[in-house]
Amino acid sequence: MAATRTSKEQKYDRQLRLWGDHGQETLENAHVCLINATATGTEILKNLVLPGIGAFTVVDGHTVTGEDVGNNFFLCNNSIGKNRAQAATELLQELNSDVSGNFVEESPDKLLDNDPEFFHRFSIVIGVHLPESTCLRLGSVLWSASVPFLVCKTYGLIGYMRLVVREHTVIESHPDNALEDLRLDKPFGEFKNHIQSYDLDNMDKKDHSHTPWIIIVAKYLEKWLSEHNGQAPKNYKEKEAFRQFIREGILKNENGVPEDEENFEEAIKNVNTALNPTKIPSTVEDLFNSEQCNNITSQSTAFWVMLRAIKEFVHNEGNGSLPLRGTIPDMIADSQKFVNLQNVIFAEFIFNSNFQKPPESISENDIKLFCKNASFLRVVRCRSLAEEYSVDSVNKDEISELGIDVLSDHPVLFFLISSVCTNSPTVSYVRIYNYQVEEDISKLKLCVNSLLQEYSLNINIKDDYIHEFCRYGAAEPHTVAAFLGGSAAQEAIKIISHQFVPFSNTFIYNAMSQTSATLNL
């Protein structure tokens, strides 16, 4: 390890602790496209420039207005009248000299007319406040080119985003509270040998009190199995009896009073989870049963090739189990006993992960990382926008479920109106004069009802919501844009780095009630 750290390592230290150097590398190789430098757009980009993406390109044909400058940190009043892409790029670029900023003074529609392949070069395209027609056109181009697309809108107090990606695989999902992989119900050979080396009944006090709880549970389980016909404790009563069984093993002093043996207390506390049967998570089983896993071709990505190999391991060497994860939690023990146990488990992990020689394109480290995360693999698939909007395939169930008598602050009802409102090509609700709000209410109501009819959705949307939406008059308050800015940027980072799990596929934020919901549409 070099004595001096690079200035980038120092600058990015706090985030490197979350996604590692390899995660940072993916960011630095990424090129993000933002369409429309509204407040929402620039806030999203700010949260990508600061962590150091390689490059960004702002596409915007609009001219900066006084209203734009009022809610946007990356526009100044002396840029009024200038092209918005150029003005915003200057101030975004200034945030981080490691990042390369570009701009295109064109509307996305023009680009789609003249050069749709322009969009193929990006790691992700983020479209903000796009009219429905542009959204669908662009969505189709990006879907064919397999470029992830994130659609975002802020409308009054409502934030909305939609992720469009065909298939996104995640090896490092970093689950928050994962259960340990101890295999106490299916102890492997070397582990059985290792626990043989412990003779709890004949150890001196110091060793007895510093034996790792995993060993204690394993040994007591062995005894229990021999006394109960090979049946492990299953219900509460049996587990209680097992806990008591372990408790009786605590050393007693000359007066028969139990000593203070914290390692035994740990063992008793952990009985419940320790006795969890070793099982392949259903998420992984589903992946094993998917088409991509069963039809490996020369086009298959490394993820599916490795998954297929794991599936075969499970059916052969693994005897129905995934490769061992190879880690244990900290526990009361002396250094030597703990490290020895750790080494036995790690050796088995290495042994498991070497079950097959990988093809040229996949390194040993890739395999090890894959095996280590085998229980946590995730794949996210989103429907295309065309499918979502099509009358034939609209997800009625997801929308109807949140129907009639829901609390007034349920975000999803707002979504409906939101999508209707901003998607309507003929009516604009950007009203400057307050008296026009009344007119808009009846227009919007007609629009919403006809859309619901078109999709045969039987939901009643209260007039209050329609009124509230007209009241917003397409305002984009900065604080709501900033909330969406943080949310969307992190989803983009997940897509680029393939770490942590992205949402799928619609997210709605209601700043009025400070609530949110995700839907799959």
Partner: protein, 442 residues
């Protein structure tokens, strides 16, 4: 509430506040019952409204931007820190050339020059260096702090400003406190109306005390690389004083961390432990919490939205706690934290302390520091004994600590304390002395 006159008019331009005006000048079906649409509201926000931001770091920078772009011009910001290079990945008002300068000053300069008309006043100070005259001038206080102790102090300060007339709380003396916190991909935002809703101390159990590794693990049976690092900086450094006698370990000094890293490697090698890295060494010594721009942006935005709602009375504020987590998809959970009946900070009832007369003062001290609902840091205890005010124990002044230390091993009876009497306790977690009632058990 004492409020300053507004700042002078800066250049305005057409349409500047359009996005906000729609919320202030239009009626709506979901507005606060007290809300009246009016063109005057905007001038209240711009000229009169005065907000205090505590902290100019990850949350603070975002808060200043959010408030300024929501029409607030009179903002004060307090921060006792200077800028470090590791701040630059998210504290976007700072640049490499600003490293070493006070955060409050640089943040104020940036906002004031980027947002014409905005007047942020910086205070390069600890919150404890400012008094009630200072805090009383604000309509709303927003915190972007990184320490529970500081939060509790702020909470205590606002509680001490409350005025009760004939047992009834004067609403004019309430200063709402909006509090935000983040850690990695998790965060929370809450709204506190001191004296009315749950305060910081009411929900102290939500902040579990920091887990420290037991000394015997560090001293004689390390298992993890972290144990090796703790050993080096807690035991080896004081013993060897590698950079000179009395030179304390500075987590920001790369040479110090390098030394810790090297010696931790040696320690780890003795026990066949792998995993010690420079990054881990610094992380353990400084108790570093990972941080990114996105989480801070989200939580600050939620807090700023609440400031806007309360300042403009446009909507009902958050009631009263929102939690956010975007590790797996995006998750928020909003609930009403309840007031604790016997909250040590806001319930106004002196807490009972139950001890036998034969208990030692040390036992009382231990209770004050380890109890989950009190979690005091270094309490100083005084009581009236035989008609005179007597300091029983005080840690923060060396001479007094020495003088009162023998009291710790004396019993409460020996110290002349009687059942039912009051004990006054001072601590960094609260600006005001806390009163307890000593109840003797048999």
């Amino acid at each position: 509430m004492v409020v300053d006159g507004g700042s002078g008019h800066a250049c305005e331009w057409e349409g500047r506040w359009n996005h906000i005006k729609k919320f202030l000048e239009r009626s709506g079906p979901f507005t606060h019952p007290d809300f009246e649409p009016s063109t005057e509201s905007l001038s209240f926000m711009l000229e009169t409204c005065k907000i205090l931001v505590i902290g100019a770091g990850g949350l603070g920078c975002e808060l200043l931007k959010d408030l300024a772009l929501s029409g607030i011009r009179n903002i004060h910001v307090v921060d006792m820190d200077t800028i470090d290079v590791s701040n630059l990945n998210r504290q976007f008002l700072f640049r490499p050339k600003d490293v070493g300068r006070p955060k409050a000053d640089v943040a104020a300069d940036f906002i004031n020059s980027r947002i014409p008309g905005c007047c942020v006043v910086p205070h390069f100070k600890k919150i404890q260096d400012l008094d009630e005259t200072f805090y009383r001038q604000f309509h709303i206080i927003v915190c972007g702090l990184d320490s529970v102790v500081a939060r509790r102090w702020m909470n205590g300060m606002l509680l001490s400003l409350l005025v009760y007339e004939d047992g009834v709380l004067d609403p004019g003396s309430i200063i709402p406190l909006i509090d935000g916190g983040t850690e990695g991909f998790k965060g929370n935002a809450r709204v506190i109306f001191p004296g009315m809703t749950a305060c910081i101390d009411c929900t102290l159990e939500l902040y579990p005390p920091q887990i420290n590794f037991p000394m015997c693990t560090i001293a004689s049976m390390p298992r993890l690389p972290e144990h090796c690092i703790e050993y080096v900086w807690m035991l080896l450094w004081p013993k060897e004083s590698p950079f000179g006698a009395g030179v304390a370990l500075d987590g920001d000094d790369p040479e110090h961390i390098q030394w810790v890293y090297q010696r931790s490697l040696e320690r780890a090698a003795e026990f066949n432990i792998t995993g010690v890295t420079y990054r881990l060494s610094q992380g353990v010594v400084k108790r570093i919490i990972p941080a990114v721009a996105s989480t801070n942006a989200v939580i600050a935005a939620a807090c700023a939205t609440e400031v806007f709602k309360i300042a403009s009375s446009a909507y009902m504020p958050l009631n009263n706690y929102m939690v956010f987590n975007d590790i797996d998809s995006l998750y928020t959970y909003t609930f009403e934290a309840e007031r604790k009946e016997n909250c040590s900070a806001c319930s106004q009832i002196p807490m009972d302390l139950h001890f036998a007369p034969s208990s030692k003062l040390q036992d009382v001290l231990d209770y004050l520091t380890t109890s989950a609902s009190l979690q005091m840091k270094s309490p100083a205890i005084t009581a009236t004994v035989e008609g005179k005010n007597k300091t029983l124990y005080l840690q923060s002044v060396a001479s007094i600590e020495q003088r009162t230390r023998p009291n710790l091993s004396k019993t409460l009876k020996e110290l002349g304390l009687t059942g039912g009497q009051e004990l006054a306790v001072a601590d960094v977690t609260t600006p005001q002395t806390m009163l307890f009632r000593l109840c003797f058990t048999s």
